[in-house]
Each structure stands twice: as C-alpha cells, then as structure tokens.
C-alpha cells in the first residue's frame, strides 16, 4: 500500500498547483479504468437476467418486475417447478419439449465430484510434500512443473481425454467389468478435469501451509513427533481454512470448465449412475446450443441464458465462500 501521509505541498508556485491539478485528473482517469470492472458485472447480470426472464416469463425483465411489483398476475411460460423438478431436458422437441435442467446439473455434478476425487487427494499430498518434505532442489523443479500443468489450454486436455484416457484407460477398464462404453464418457471427463485442477489445490494449499508458523511445528517436534505427525496433526489442521478455500476454488473451476468436458463427456443429457456413459454438463449444453444455430428469440436461444444464469449463480456462491475462507486464513497467522 502507499503511505498514509499525503504529499500535500502548500506553495504559491503555479507549477506545483498545476502538478497537483494533473494529479487529481489522473486519479479520475484511473478511477474510470477500475469502473470497467463494475460495468462488466452489471452487464453480466443484465444480460443473463433479461434473457432468462424471456425464457421463464416470455417477457422483458423490466416489464415482469413492474408487473410483479404492482401485484399484477404474471403468466409464466415455464414454471420454476418444471425447470427445477420436471421430467426431462429436451428443449427442441417439437411436440413435447421438456424443460427440466436436472440432467445438465447432474452431469456437472458427476464431473465435479469425480474430478474432486482426483484433485483433492493428489493436490493436498503434493502441497504437504512441497511445504513439509521437499528439499529446495526438488521444489525448484516441481513448482514450475505444476505451473505448466495449470497453463495447458483446456481444449488440449479434451483432446488428451479422447486420444489417450478413453482408449487406454477407460475402455480396458470397461471391458474388464464387462460394460459398454462410448468415446465420450463421464470417467474420462472427470479424470482430465481432476488433473487440470491439481495445480489449483496444490498451490493454494501450499500457500496456506507455508503460512503456518514454525513455532507450532517445533513445539510438536519437541514433544517427539515425527514429520508424519506434524504434517497431519499440526500443519493440516492449522491451515484448514486455506486448504478448504483451495478445494472450493478447484470445485468452482470444475463446474465452469467447458471445453474438456464438452469433448470428453459428450452431448447426451441424462441422469446416469455409471461412469462409462455419455452425459452433458451445463457448459457443454451451452456450447451445443450455440453451435446448433439457436435462432434469436427461440426457446433454445433463451434456454442458453437460463442455464448460463444458473451456472453463474452457482460459481458466484462458490467464489463468495472461497473469499470468506481466504480472508479467514489470512487473518489467522498474521
């Protein structure tokens, strides 16, 4: 942060006054820059809510809000009950369309949980290794390696899923169990999303673990604890809010992940319980709908924004939770 004392110069010299005037002008310009971020947020809310209102009420957002406020009855085209607890998701069906978002949410849920089973154990153990065991030399190679892993574009992970994970891991496993599998399946999607979120879990957890003061470790060592006891009995509990922040961020990323799951997990919205079947996540639906030439004003076009709004709200809640946890662990050991 800057210093608290403002360099206010009191002088009759005109140049100083001009300098200070320019200073204030610049401050205004810089404030304009930051206001772009607020504008972006407003744009996100406006577009998503407006189009989602078209989807649910078949009317403009402002009209619907005015009608609701004045107590007029609003005819709802697609009820929230149907959206959240209907029968199936098939927006384009000409005779009997279904508007239940459940299958898409279920697809996202499967991928996210599967990815968490990969990234949370591996990421946490990696963080413990980096903060408690690793020598400087090992860290020097391990950390850049993780950074590279985090920098690989998600489309490349998608390609990796269909060209390696599915044919070499998932298909043999399915054959062993005697079940059919497709080139797109839940397991491959979950594994690649898990791999790509390992660096998030590892680096943020390690941050939290490194901020645990050495006094706590030394106290445990003085009592005769081994590194194993210190890692799991002292460091992990002491950094728990930071570690949870890392988990939540990784899960939030997995929910919003688009390309890898689109390629790896497919385009079939369904409630499935097998890791070898094709599903569709919320994000994959968005890609699917926009590629399928959704005509402006059609129900397919508007459904895009209803699903987008739901996705945005879910990730927003996760991010707020993450920020709260992060604040807490920053305050714990100052």
């Amino acid at each position: 942060m800057s210093t608290d004392t403002d360099p206010e110069i009191t002088s009759a010299d005109g140049r100083v006054a001009a300098d200070q005037r320019r200073d204030r002008l610049v401050q205004g310009g810089l404030f304009l820059c930051i206001s772009f971020t607020l504008l972006t947020t407003l744009a996100i809310f406006w577009v998503l809510f407006n189009e989602a209102t078209h989807f649910f009420f078949d009317g403009r957002f402002s009209d619907v809000v005015v009608s609701l406020l004045t107590g007029e009855s609003v005819s709802q085209r697609i009820t929230f009950v149907e959206f959240f607890a209907g029968e199936r998701w098939d927006v384009t069906h000409s005779i009997n369309p279904g508007y239940w978002v459940g299958p898409l949410v279920w697809g996202t849920f499967l991928i996210t949980v599967g990815a968490a089973f990969v990234s949370i154990p591996i990421g946490t153990l990696t963080a413990l290794y980096l903060s408690e065991y690793a020598s400087q030399d090992v860290r020097k190679y391990l950390k850049p390696g993780l950074e590279i892993l985090a920098g690989i574009p998600t489309i490349v992970y998608g390609f990796f899923a269909i060209s390696f994970i599915t044919p070499w891991l998932i298909r043999p496993a399915a054959e062993l169990l005697g079940v059919q599998t497709r080139s797109a399946n839940v397991a491959a999607g979950a594994i690649v999303v898990g791999i790509m979120t390992i660096p998030i879990v590892a680096s943020i957890s390690e941050d939290a673990m490194s901020s645990v003061p050495d006094d706590l470790r030394n106290g445990a060592y003085a009592l005769g604890a081994t590194k194993f006891d210190v890692s799991l009995g002292v460091v992990l509990p002491a950094s728990v809010s930071g570690v949870f922040a890392a988990y939540i961020l990784a899960i939030s990323r997995a929910i919003g992940e688009t390309m890898a799951v689109t390629i790896a997990a497919g385009f079939t919205p369904q409630i499935a319980f097998s890791p070898f079947v094709e599903i569709q996540t919320m994000t994959a639906y968005m890609v699917d709908a926009v590629r399928g030439e959704a005509v402006v004003g059609s129900i397919r076009y508007q459904s895009l924004f209803a699903v987008g709004l739901l996705l945005f709200i879910i990730t927003l809640v996760m991010n707020l939770l993450n920020n709260k946890l992060k604040e807490r662990y920053r305050e714990e050991y100052r």
Binding site: M1, I44, G145, T154, Y157, V287, V290, V296, L320
Partner: protein, 302 residues
Amino acid sequence: MSTPPMDELFGDIDLEWEHRKNRAFRSLCFLSSILGLAALALLIADVLWEAYRGVSEYDIGIIHFITSTGSVNPDRAGMYGALVGSVLLIVLASIMTFFIGVGAAIYLEEYAPDTRLVRLIDANLANLAGVPSVVYGLVCFGLLINGPLDLGRIILVGAIALALVVLPIIIVSAMEALRAVPDSVRNGSYAIGATRWQTIRRVVLPAAMPGIMTGTILAIANAWGQTAPLLMVGAIASARHVPTGPFDDITALTVTIFDWAFRFQDQFHVLAAMGIVGLLVVLLGMNMVAIYIRSRYEKELS
C-alpha cells in the same frame, strides 16, 4: 534410550513403527507430486505422437500445414487462417486490457481510499476472476451480437470476450507487482517534492514494470488458449478464410482444433494434434519470455 526410566517412559511407543509410518507417508506424498508431472509428460507425449503420425502416416508436410488454410478436405487442411485469427484476437485483446488493467491496478494500489465503494470494487474483482470464461462469451453473444449492439460474428467481438476474461487476471497480477515496490522508494520521491502521480510514473511504475509485464504475458497466454468464449460468440473453424482485420469473420486456432477433434476420420484427429503442437509452441514461447523477464529483472530492487 538405554536408561531404565526412559524405557519405562516410552515403553508403549514402537519407534520403529513410527519411523516406518513416516517414511511411507513421505513416499506417498512424493508419488502424488510426481503423478501431476507424469500426467503432464503423458499428455505432451500423446500429442506429439499423434502429430508425428500425421507427418509419417498421412504424409502431411509441416510447412504445408502451417501455410495453407483449413479445408474440408483433410489432405489440404492447414492452420494458417486460424493462426492469423488467433493472433489478431490476442493482439486486440491485449491492447484493450493492458492500459485499462494497469490503470485500474494503480488506482487500487496507490490511490484508493478505504471506502465502502472501493471495498465493493475489490470484492467484485475477486468474483470476476472466478466467473467461468464460457459465461463471458455468453454475455458478449447476448449483448454484442444479438442484443442492443448488432456487431455480427467478427474478430472484434471475440477480442472483447477475451478481454473480459483476462482483465481481472491482469489487474490482480499488476496489483501484486505494485505492492512489491517498497514504500521507502515512494517516500524518497515524495521527500524531494514529487506529487503522487510523478512518483508513480517516474519511480513506482518503472520499478514494477517487469512484474507487470510478466503478469500480462501470462494473462495473454491464458487468452491464447481460450476456446469456450470464442465458440459462444460464433467463432468457426476457418474453411477457406484468412481474416485480415478486426471486422472480419471470427476464426481461431483453438476453435479449429475443436472442430477437427470432433470429426470421425482419423486424419482429422491427427490434424487436431498438429494444431495443438502449434498452439503449445506459441504458448511455450510466451512463457519463456515471461520467465526471461522475471529472472532478468528480479533482483534489481531488493
């Protein structure tokens, strides 16, 4: 350990077991850390192998692949048009975000009073960084293509979508770079009568510039690999089209790879791999520039 009282004291502890447990856990942690890197190595090996198959099995010339523009016929497909589109996209996105991003970071680090509005901006920034990139694409689709502004599916709209994705990243990394400049440097400048802006422009910014550049390059590398926001604003795999300016139809390398990866013929699959090699080579170049800047200027101000 040999004196009788000690034996009694630790009689119920099997030291051998404790040590074995510790060693086993250490190995487990080590294996986990290696697993991530192993996945990375496998991924790169897989992509290189598939790309090599393209050169050996299908006889696709590398020069031909780089210089010709994508076609429905896999024998004549190439990534030139897509590459040009991607370069145009990130150049435009960088121009749009660099100045706004650094300006916003300067405001938040150097000027911002601790008011409620600033705290709101801060919290909002953290949330924007966590919004999925596909949502930014959707918002641009609804606002700039089908909404009040009908710009069409052009490069400029794609660049705006990418700019929205990377702006929070640039702001946060520039803030970190500014924070790393010690206050003593600022105070020295104030002491000789400089105003706040003079101090920032002549002292703080030059000192923070390597950090800002590194963060910006990494953010642009992120934009380079983005696919979802571009798909949302209607990017297509380039058929016979080489874009020439910001108002041309939007096409990008990542989107072309996505299109190839989805076709059933094996030849398109290896074309996708070759496109990915091109994508990763550029990414590697950007990262090396960032690492070079970081190591070259790192120790100057400590």
